[in-house]
């Protein structure tokens, strides 16, 4: 594990603020010393990324795909080491990290396959119509091209899948954008291992130096320098509302506006409809595991449950309480996250409008930084009276909002802000009655779910992991799935261009055999 800052193919001398990784479960420092990068290093990383861009954007798609595959292969080759270090740094359990490593490498393979298949460039061709009246139509052909160097911020809660070689990096590299990662200080060792894997893959495939760099910082200086750098063309981030908005503020101080895709907080409302509660309250109560999985440290954790009071709801609450009581405390990602969770959940529990449905008492005293699951309850009227109940409590916490009737339930759901997800638990036969409610959900969230928990995000073509503000800073994009590549590209059209000099994607005989909108028909 080389713990130094990496610019292109060179590790930098050890200088600057030194910091160490912490084991949150044991409260001790982990091996390895890391050094906060300085401003001239941040500048050098971006300048090299820009130089690399001039070459990388023109590299054959199959070569880019091979590079992405190699990153995944290199990660797998040191998978044991990565998982061991990530466990120590994050406190997350081995099965979760094994799954996350598989997801991370699968994302790289997915984007490699996307490149090889080639249709993602959205080729659109309108051929010339010389005899059109009153004016001839000229030949115009468009496709997506990369934006330029991307700055990717590692996420605390996904040390692999949304960090150094995570979804943002995979999509950016696939799009043709060099990447400069700002490593998350909670898992610098994991980051170092993965960065080493990317460096190896880039060297093996003779990618232009600077296609990937990674810098450390235990503060905010380097992140700010990267966001504000003139050569930076897009920024991506997954994390808290506060963190995302801090990046937005920096980006707003730039002369040149650039896209900032920040996936921020979400409380992921889950609506329990009456018939479903009556028929299967006990089954629905199993949502406790979605609330508490990995200490509730998912951006899609169901943080709000909505229902109308009923006998079925009482059974649901009983089942939920029984479930929560079985949940062991779990190590939270960082000291800051754990103390913030402790404070926020304690505030909620102590609130006079709030009662406690369930609270786990299974504290693991062998470990530090433990989060204990809590589910609370509030009346819909009280919930609407104060905005504080709508704020995300990151951790194993959820709140049941109890309405007097469906009209009040619909009213309270109407007060919610933008979300990543919104779920409905319903019997099929009752759903049509509540169409105005479910229609609202599609205006509220990026993903609406029937009879399933919001946790567990499928990485495919149809997924939307995004949503209206404050869930993200740009609802027009998803940060998960093949479409997430669209964040990194822009369209260019060639008018009356020479057939032989057109990109292969736009040649008339379609040598790449990709799907194209050709004179208004999707063909290949």
């Amino acid at each position: 594990m080389d713990t130094r800052n990496l610019i292109g193919y060179s590790y930098l001398p050890e200088m600057g603020n030194k910091f160490k990784a912490k084991d949150p479960a044991l409260g001790v420092d982990l091996p390895g010393e890391f050094y906060a990068a300085n401003l001239s290093e941040a500048n050098a990383a971006m300048e090299l990324a820009d130089k690399a861009f001039a070459v990388y954007r023109t590299i054959d798609k199959n070569k880019k795909a091979a590079f992405l595959r190699s990153i995944a292969d290199e990660m797998k080759a040191i998978g044991g080491e990565i998982i061991e270090r990530a466990m120590s740094e994050s406190g997350l359990p081995a099965p979760r990290l094994q799954g996350e490593l598989a997801r991370t490498t699968n994302q790289l393979y997915l984007f490699a396959a996307l490149l090889e298949e080639g249709s993602w460039v959205e080729a659109v061709i309108d051929t010339a119509i010389p005899d059109r009246q009153p004016l001839p139509r000229v030949d115009i052909r468009k496709m997506m091209v990369p934006l330029g160097p991307a700055v990717v911020f590692g996420a605390s809660n996904f040390p692999l899948a949304y960090s150094v070689a995570g979804g943002d990096t995979a999509a950016a590299l696939a799009a043709g954008c060099p990447v400069v990662v700002k490593a998350h200080p909670a898992h610098p060792g994991t980051s170092a291992l993965v960065a080493g894997a990317i460096k190896k893959a880039a060297e093996r495939h003779q990618m232009p130096e600077g296609v990937f760099s990674m810098l450390y910082d235990d503060g905010y200086v380097i992140g700010e320098a990267l966001v504000k750098h003139q050569k930076t063309k897009i920024v991506t981030f997954t994390g808290s509302f506060t963190g995302g908005m801090a990046l937005m503020k920096m980006a707003r101080e730039r002369d040149e506006p650039i896209p900032v895709f920040a996936e921020m907080g979400s409380i992921n409302p889950v609506i329990l409809l009456p018939q479903a509660l009556e028929n299967r309250a006990e089954e629905l109560a199993k949502i406790y595991s979605s609330i508490t999985a990995n200490a509730g440290q998912f951006c899609t954790k169901p943080g709000l449950l909505f229902a109308v009071k009923s006998e079925g709801l009482d059974r649901f609450k009983k089942g939920l309480a029984e479930g929560i009581a079985t949940v062991d405390s779990a190590t939270m990602l960082t000291l800051g996250i754990c103390s913030n969770f402790g404070k926020l959940s304690k505030d909620m529990v102590g609130d006079s409008a709030v009662s406690v449905i369930a609270q786990s008492e299974k504290l693991n005293t062998q470990k530090t930084n433990q989060g204990l699951a809590v589910v609370t309850e509030i009346a819909a009227a009280d919930f609407m009276a104060d905005g504080k109940y709508k704020e995300e409590v990151f951790g194993p916490y959820s709140m049941l909002v109890v309405a007097d009737d469906m009209a009040q339930l619909e009213q309270v759901v109407g007060t919610l802000q933008g979300q990543l997800t919104a779920s409905v638990m319903a019997e099929k036969e009752e759903l049509p009655k509540y169409k105005s409610l479910t229609d609202k959900l599609a205006n509220l969230a990026g993903r609406v779910i029937l009879n399933g928990p919001p946790t567990g995000v499928e990485v495919g073509n149809a997924i939307v992991h995004g949503g209206p503000f404050p869930a993200t800073t740009d609802s027009r994009f998803t940060s998960v799935g093949t479409s997430s590549i669209k964040r990194f590209v822009r369209p260019v059209c060639w008018q009356n261009w020479n057939e032989e000099l057109l990109p292969d994607e736009l040649k008339t005989d379609n040598p790449l055999n990709i799907w194209r909108l050709f004179n208004n028909e999707w063909i290949r």
Copy 2:
């Protein structure tokens, strides 16, 4: 012509700052009094737009299409009156405005057809795979939905096609977004006529009140209030760099980030390759008409020409000078635009590094506000030495940048900032030699053109009217053509949703017969 501010279906009482439209060609006030809206009216317009959105977004696509068609029909019904008023207010000649009216109504018909056809929603369907290992795949289906109320700023140089019922409004209404137009103060009467046509069409089709509103202001207060309003979800603008950046600044002061698509300045470089100059210098010199058409008041006017010194270039310059000398002076859009053009072109002509190739002397003394065509020349080294030569001179002006050789030409082109267009005049046989140069153009601009002038923008599926900053504030979108609708939408996915309750676009049997990416195949 009702000159009052319009909110939904109500014209507002006449109050606030009064202003009149000016005839730029005659320097006199035109009939009709207009009133700057006030802040409470701006607020009311946005609140009503938001209320309308809740209904409008759910209205059947064919009804929306009929509404768009009616707008075009209503405009045609008063086409003579619109053109007469627009001529008086803009100084643009009748044939140009007739063409622009046709383009405007055609854009509305185009978006109506796009809605009826239906594939624009980018439906993507991944069906469930219950036996997938290690985890089942759940059914996920996504499509585009509208963002919410749009604020559209009328453009000075397109009183019809980029103003009240122009491309932005047509795309927004097609997407399902209500529109509040801030009318451009240079053509308030034209705006009033078109707004009346939209109001009639909306009433006839019983669109929710607030689907369209229009406010006047002769200053910046109302524009700022609209951009900063909490209910505003997207802003579009076509105009100067200064104007676009002022809107960006306002938007950056919002809590909630929203997309601002500002199409701003562009100097549209045209590269004249050696063989083409040698073979057909005189034909290439006809670009003078693209430089001077409608007093050069196009965002795609070729403002910079690049060539290597040669005998062919001398003939080109001679032809250009002869062409420019035949061009009559033309009325410019506003006093401000004309005086700014006069100042900037005079500064260039008086610059010691700059010489004059051609200057028209055909001043029309019967009219005021006249722009006279000028083309200047500068050596590439001098051009690179000062950024001021790269600034847009809006009007009938262009500058020829003469390089010593192709290496210097490529170097100087490499110093350019983002552009809407970049053109190459070339013989087919010489083009492959300059691939590194033409590759750079695709990184510089939204549209690259071979052997044609950049003016004249085809409104189709493949067009890109956009480009890297400072040409626009968001290079990921086009403001012309069917794809311009993408600025106004975001994706939503439905997971495990009930077949009967899915939007028709996403039902398995494809009742709308639209193109969809269905389990990775584009079919319908």
